[in-house]
């Protein structure tokens, strides 16, 4: 097992896909009807000076290939251009809003991992009524889009009961945690259902294994059988799902941040799309795609550590 070669190879593959993705994100601008300058300025006063500024900023007088390479060079240096709506650097907007989104994602992941694993384990080990209850509950959880959960939670816990604020992201860490609780729960609901179902079936698969019967007949305590022989074997599947969960989360934040007016990157993408602020849309799309691929890579690297039966191969991850 040559870990280093695997990592280098996967990184190269990832770089190639990212390059292609950056081309898609860049080229999308040229699919728009009309000239890029008029599209970028759409709905805004287009004085000759403004058009000249846009032409200069996007190097619209250069050939397409030159424009793309210049843009790519800037992006690699962390320069995503200037936001048309906010009139500041996109990178400044992002650094301003990224902490909020990261905190929200971290809170959601904690909730999902703890509750999802517990529910899945409970359903698999207990069986019977508990199992059926978890199954019915998770069937509804995976049928509930995050924005539906957001609106329902807002109506109940923020407006009716007044336990949590209905919008905004608060100042200071404690206030932020309080403001982000409902958004995190809204994001978590669907993912808890998904993880609980996967954990349950992975544990049932492991429970049916002969090694479990052997361990039990040797008199190993049931607690230990579950922990060392069942949960341990299910971990690989859980990790793969965790990768899926992180990437689903990155996209769902757009909906939930908008629903709760949380000033994070997701809400920025929604605002940028409605105001046709294309440089901002490009930057956030590219970052989400890069994160998405990075998460897949990390999962592929961790998988053999968790489950030694899986050898590192350059095959595609099962995303």
């Amino acid at each position: 097992m040559n870990v280093l070669r695997f990592v280098v190879r996967r990184l190269a593959e990832m770089a190639l896909t990212l390059l292609a993705a950056s081309f898609v994100v860049f080229g999308a601008l040229y699919l728009a009807p009309g000239s890029p300058a008029s599209f970028l300025l759409s709905g805004r006063s287009a004085s000759p000076a403004a058009i000249a500024a846009i032409n200069a900023q996007y190097h619209l007088d250069d050939p397409f290939a030159v424009r793309y390479l210049r843009w790519l060079g800037d992006v690699l240096r962390g320069d995503f251009g200037r936001s048309i709506t906010y009139r500041t650097d996109v990178s400044a907007l992002l650094t301003d809003r990224l902490p909020t989104t990261l905190l929200l994602v971290a809170m959601t992941l904690t909730v999902v991992m703890v509750i999802g694993l517990l529910l899945g384990r409970l359903a698999a080990v207990r069986g019977g009524v508990t199992d059926s209850a978890v199954l019915v509950g998770t069937t509804f959880a995976v049928g509930t889009p995050s924005f539906v959960a957001a609106v329902l939670l807002q109506g109940l816990f923020a407006v009716r009961l007044g336990w949590f604020p209905s919008s905004g992201d608060g100042d200071g860490i404690a206030d932020m945690l309080w403001h982000l609780t409902l958004p995190a729960v809204a994001l978590a609901l669907y993912l808890v259902g998904m993880l609980a179902r996967v954990t349950r079936s992975a544990m049932l698969d492991a429970l049916a294994g002969e090694h479990v019967t052997v361990a039990r007949s040797r008199g190993v305590p049931e607690r230990q059988v579950i922990r060392r022989h069942v949960l341990r074997n299910a971990l690989g599947t859980v990790l793969t799902t965790a990768g899926l969960i992180v990437s689903t989360l990155l996209v769902s934040t757009i909906l939930v941040e908008s629903a709760f007016s949380v000033g994070g990157v997701g809400q920025l993408l929604e605002l940028a799309t409605t105001t046709k602020d294309f440089p901002t849309v490009q930057a956030i799309s590219l970052i989400i795609v890069a994160l998405f691929m990075a998460v897949n890579l990390v999962v592929d690297l961790l998988l053999p550590l968790v489950d030694p039966r899986i050898a590192l191969t350059s095959g595609r991850s099962s995303a």
């Binding site: 896909t17 728009a32 199954l135 889009p145 923020a158 996209v251 908008s258 294309f278 799309s285 989400i288």
Partner: protein, 286 residues
Amino acid sequence: MSTVLVRRPGLARLRSTDPRSPLHVLCVGFVGVLTLAALLAPWLAPHDPNAVDLGNALAGTSAHHPLGADAAGRDTLSRLLVGARTSLLGPLGVVTFSTVTGVAVGMAAAWRGGWLDSVLSRSAELVFAFPGLLLAILIISVYGEGLVAPVVALAVAYFPYVSRLTRSLVLAERERPYVSAYVVQGNGALQICLRHVLPNIAPVVLAQATISFGYALMDLAGLSFLGLGVPALTPDWGRMVFDGQSAVQQGYPLSAVLPCVLIVLTVVAFNVAGEGWADRVARRDR
């Protein structure tokens, strides 16, 4: 959503999705009723879904408005009924388009192999890197809001999942003796694929399409909720949640909660129906 078409392991054991279970029957029935309601919506709806009546804004349930009215006084029941059309037509478009192209491409890739196969898997790789909702938002930011742009974007995002599934199914099917028998008898590749292989893989592909219908509905409703989907006046469940959100914050949740409930029930019904079907197919193949 990247979970589309990934068959969840171990589902064969779920009692709740057993094809003969009451839950499964209930879900299939619900899908049927919903389709009928959407088809007959213009005749069933008691009011014009877009008739504004500010005197009735946020009215509760009454004989005149059985499910109340929204912030503009529009009848919620009528909007739900007529909205079922857009809300179901969008996902149908996504699923149809992605399934037809995905099956065609996956079949060609599996049968031909070689450079065609590798070009197709490489381009699928690129699409995989874009989550469906993100691709839709990118395309909407260029083309503007509407129903067509999101449906095309999601169909493109879902397509590689179908083509990969089809490819693996066709590769397995090719090895079976009946295919060699037809080849020996001098049948053309196209004829064998369309007349003999396609019917054999169709149940699995269609069961997955049923499941992804639910995902497409969630994604499209989400886009409408962001105000990026259907135009403002079109009745649509996601749009109704968006319109009703400010009423929720004022303490009148009815006009937003009802479309929420319908979205959840519809997605659950399609998931359970699709999974039940997939299980039955898997059992028959065994």
